[in-house]
Amino acid sequence: MTAVSLKVNGAVHAVAVAPETPLLYVLTDELHLRGPKFGCGLAQCGACTVLIDGGPVRSCITPVSAVKSAEIITLDGLGTPEKPHPIQQAFIDEQAAQCGFCLSGVILTAKSFLDRNPRASDDEIRSALAGLLCRCFAHARMFKAIQRYAKMVRS
């Protein structure tokens, strides 16, 4: 066990874990965050996605020791039910979910991509969503929600 300090959703947390522990287990088991989820443990589905310094990272294969002092944002930290982040609001407006298990990957990946590429075409957005799975297949609504957010980012 090693003492690790993590900056998550704007707060600093000290946890004692083995350094090779995947970041996901620290976020869920130690910090009790609900956003990142265990989907596959293989970086194949995106359910465990968090933003590290603004970029999407699959936390299931990222050792906690690799994060160091970087800033981690999870879906929990993006907005609140009372004041959702605009991309979260776009998902509410489009009713873009069924079970909701996959949302961390879809929302955080799209947000990160559009924040960095506000003028991206639909095809480019689609490419950025490769490797993200939603097995309820709410794809149509999710893409509309992402397009809605893209419009906001552009204006």
Partner: protein, 768 residues
């Protein structure tokens, strides 16, 4: 979250306990796979109003339902139902779903039965209607007027003279102490103001902001983490375990062995993962699996449990006199539920009591199973539903629930089990069944169908555990319990009424049993003989179980017949249908899709450019549980074999619609899931084990696809009972795509999935 049961919970459970074992003789293995979904007697009496509805002293309404939401929208729809019948706004209703200490036993949430069970004239709807009438009667007594002059609105009962009393004042937090009144009047759909409206999902705000508690988010004080160690080959048995092999992993609590069920429990999840990887287990060799390459031939040769669903006894005679006889065989693979999250459960078994937090769709059956396998009193076991990763059927949720129960029992502390991806896909879920279906039809000189014969073979092993068969899921079987297996048996003549729950009888057949036509079609000469065959893998009710497989075969074959007759596929179908609701969805979809009236295939494809085509398919789901038709439009690239669906139009009639917004979400999801299953999904195996164990070996469509346009035509019929709506659309997708590919290219695909390789080869063989 607080662990364990309160004293009150046990007192509630200690009264007249009725333990109901499933006594129905198992005639249809597929009905078994779906599970019991009716309302059953338990320690929470479903005939008592207080079991379903409670009114707080503040007038807030609590509903208790045995049907849970796993993403299909039941939470919102049931909340709407209660708000509607009780005449309160949505925010005044709290819904408790599936907790064996609180909610009535409604068996399993499955089989498109939640709407028929809870939205018609029994279950939750009838309880809510009873509660409204009870409140009006209480107000009538208090005001000394006739209930006829009173109306309920906004949480008050109002009199014509202006007097008004709130629900809270009337009930003041006490029980209503009434029976559910079977004659209580539901509000007429014409007067609905909350039900029937497109109410946005009530849980989406919490979902997108990560405030929603999944079962994966349960944390109990002192909770340990476990991982399972599954066999390397199917049928392998534990010969020995070297517990010392994990000694170096920190935090190890215990290595648990129960027959062939092996797991490790540790302080931290990471330690459990490491221990599971390092544990040395000596396994016996597994059993040889039938080669995948000729599996569809293999299953035809197996002993089978046969059922004659219809037999007009004149089929052979009609075939001998036919102008034309057409035959085709369709094949459909094993497919995975493949939930995006590997399954998880938390169990707290201490002493003689157990609490289980589970994403099972069957809390009461699971409670009985857990009590049996742990040797506990039924009333000492509580199962609490919490949503898992979305599942339309039987993913690893039931298996991991038993895993958690066994491991917690072994360590006498709360244990959380997270399955790995490989555990989920190879040793967690019950697959959608593989099936091979022979079709034969006799046509007269005009090309009209005069006889139809269908013979499906479908594999089966296990299924939902129900109340008494823990071996129906993998962990139960590993722990030594027997799964339900097919008993080979010859068919006897059909009796009673038509049993078409698996859509084995095509929509165009009359469905005649004992001289009465129960079916939706006109063809009087009919024979459908089904064969259930033992499966080497566990099977379960993956969304539209066998209904999809059979409908794929029926609707593609119908298209073949129409093409042979050079008839327009819509007109040809309508000529062989007699059920108005099914005919109406076919007409509605053709109109909305601007269907071009002509036979398939389309003429003059130059074989070089992208081929464009359209295909139709329809079904009366389970014979009478929802009516749907779809038109698919596709582009086919012959050089690569790539198929892209560009547009789906769906017309659906499921009776009175509870929530059109939710229904559209279900249709869209069903269509795309159907497309993914049709184009790429297939379980694979080698000589001894499953080889589709992750998302590189099992092919799901991801978020990068260009999503087809999806247009819904919702037919809202308020003069009939409500039917299910979660499995209708998916049932017709593979057939519609197959028919569209035929329309585009003249090539008929008869085996799912329509992989690029398979499409390319089929088109190239067709041209050669």
């Amino acid at each position: 979250m607080k662990a364990g049961l309160s004293r009150r919970d046990f007192l509630m459970g200690s009264g007249a306990l009725v333990v109901s074992f499933s006594m129905t003789p198992i005639l249809d293995p597929w009905a078994l796979a779906q599970g019991p979904f009716d309302t059953h007697r338990s320690h929470i009496d479903p005939e008592k109003l207080d079991s379903w509805i409670a009114i707080g002293s503040d007038g807030a309404v609590t509903g208790r339902t045995g049907k849970c939401d796993f993403g299909q929208g039941m939470y919102t729809a049931q909340t709407q139902l209660i708000a509607e019948e009780l005449c309160v706004s949505l925010d005044r209703v709290r819904l408790v779903q599936c907790d064996t200490s609180i909610t009535p036993d409604q068996g399993t949430t499955s089989g498109s039965q939640s709407t028929p069970t809870n939205f018609n004239n029994h279950g939750l709807a009838q309880a809510a209607a009873t509660a409204r009438e009870a409140l009006i009667n209480l107000a009538a007594q208090r005001m000394a007027v006739s209930p006829k002059v009173l109306t309920a609105a906004g949480g008050f009962v109002n009199a014509a003279d202006g007097r008004s009393v709130s629900y809270g004042q009337l009930v003041s937090g006490k029980n209503l102490n009434l029976a559910v009144d079977p004659n209580a009047k539901r509000k007429a759909a014409a007067n609905w103001s909350v039900l029937g409206k497109p109410v946005p999902s009530l849980d989406i705000r919490d979902l997108v902001t990560a405030r929603f508690d999944f079962v994966h988010n349960v944390h109990l004080a002192g909770m340990l983490h476990g991982r399972m160690v599954r066999p390397p080959e199917i049928g392998a048995k534990v010969l020995s375990i070297d517990e010392k092999s994990v000694r170096r992993v920190g935090g190890i609590i215990k290595v648990v062995l129960r027959q062939n069920l092996v797991g490790v429990v540790a302080e931290k999840q990471m330690q459990a993962v490491q221990a599971a990887a390092q544990l040395k287990v000596v396994w016996s060799s597994g059993s040889d699996l039938p080669p995948q390459g000729d599996f569809y031939q293999h299953i035809r040769k197996q002993p089978s449990q046969d059922t004659l669903i219809v037999d007009s006894q004149d089929v052979d005679q009609k075939f001998s006199r036919a102008a034309t006889v057409l035959k085709s065989t369709y094949a459909y693979p094993y497919q995975a539920h493949g939930s995006v999250g590997a399954s998880c459960a938390v169990a707290d078994v201490r002493g003689d009591k157990a609490t289980l937090w589970s994403a099972t769709q069957s809390v009461y059956p699971t409670r009985q199973i857990v009590a049996a396998v742990l040797g506990l009193q039924l009333e000492n076991v509580r199962v609490i539903y919490m949503r898992g990763s979305g599942c339309y059927g039987l993913n690893g949720a039931d298996t991991v629930s038993l895993d958690a129960a066994f491991l917690s029992h072994a360590v006498q502390r709360p244990v959380r089990i997270q399955l790995s991806r490989e555990d989920e896909m190879a040793w967690g879920e019950n697959y959608g069944a593989a099936s091979v279906i022979d079709q034969r039809a006799a046509l007269d000189r005009q090309g009209e169908i005069i006889a139809w014969e269908c013979e499906p073979w479908a594999v089966s092993l296990g299924g939902r555990p129900g109340y008494d068969t823990p071996g129906n899921v993998i962990s139960g079987a590993l722990a030594g319990y027997e799964p339900h297996r097919i008993t080979p048996r010859k068919a006897s003549a059909p009796t009673g009424s038509l049993k078409n729950g698996s859509n084995a009888v095509p929509s165009y057949a009359a469905g005649s049993v004992g001289g009465t036509c129960y079916g939706t079609g006109t063809i009087r000469s009919e024979r459908v003989l089904t064969h259930a065959v033992r499966s080497p893998f566990f099977t379960g009710p993956l969304r539209s179980p066998l209904r999809l497989q059979n409908t794929f075969a029926h609707e593609c074959f119908m298209d073949e017949l129409a093409a042979h007759a050079k008839a327009d596929p819509v007109a040809y179908r309508l000529r062989h249908l007699r059920e108005p609701r099914l005919m109406d969805v076919v007409k509605a979809v053709a109109k909305a899709a601007q269907w071009e009236v002509r036979p398939s295939p389309k003429a003059n494809w130059d074989r070089k450019s992208t081929a464009l085509g359209r295909g139709l398919a329809c079904v009366a789901y389970e014979g009478d549980n929802g009516y749907v038709a779809t038109v698919a439009e596709v582009e086919v690239d012959a050089s690569s074999g790539r198929v892209r669906a560009t547009r789906f139009v769906i017309a659906q009639d499921c009776g009175p619609i509870s929530n059109p917004a939710g229904m559209r979400n279900q249709i869209e999801g069903g269509v795309l899931q159907g497309m993914s299953r049709c184009l790429g999904e297939e379980i694979t195996w080698d000589a001894r084990k499953i080889t589709s164990t992750d998302w590189t070996s099992y092919h799901s469509l991801d978020l990068a696809i260009e999503v087809p346009e999806i247009e819904c035509v919702l037919i809202n019929r308020t003069d009939v009972l409500a039917t299910g709506a979660g499995e209708t659309a998916i049932t017709v997708v593979a057939a519609a795509i197959g028919n569209a590919i035929f329309d585009a290219t003249g090539t008929r695909l008869r085996q799912v999935p329509f992989t690029e390789e398979r499409v390319k080869t089929a088109i190239s063989n067709h041209s050669g």
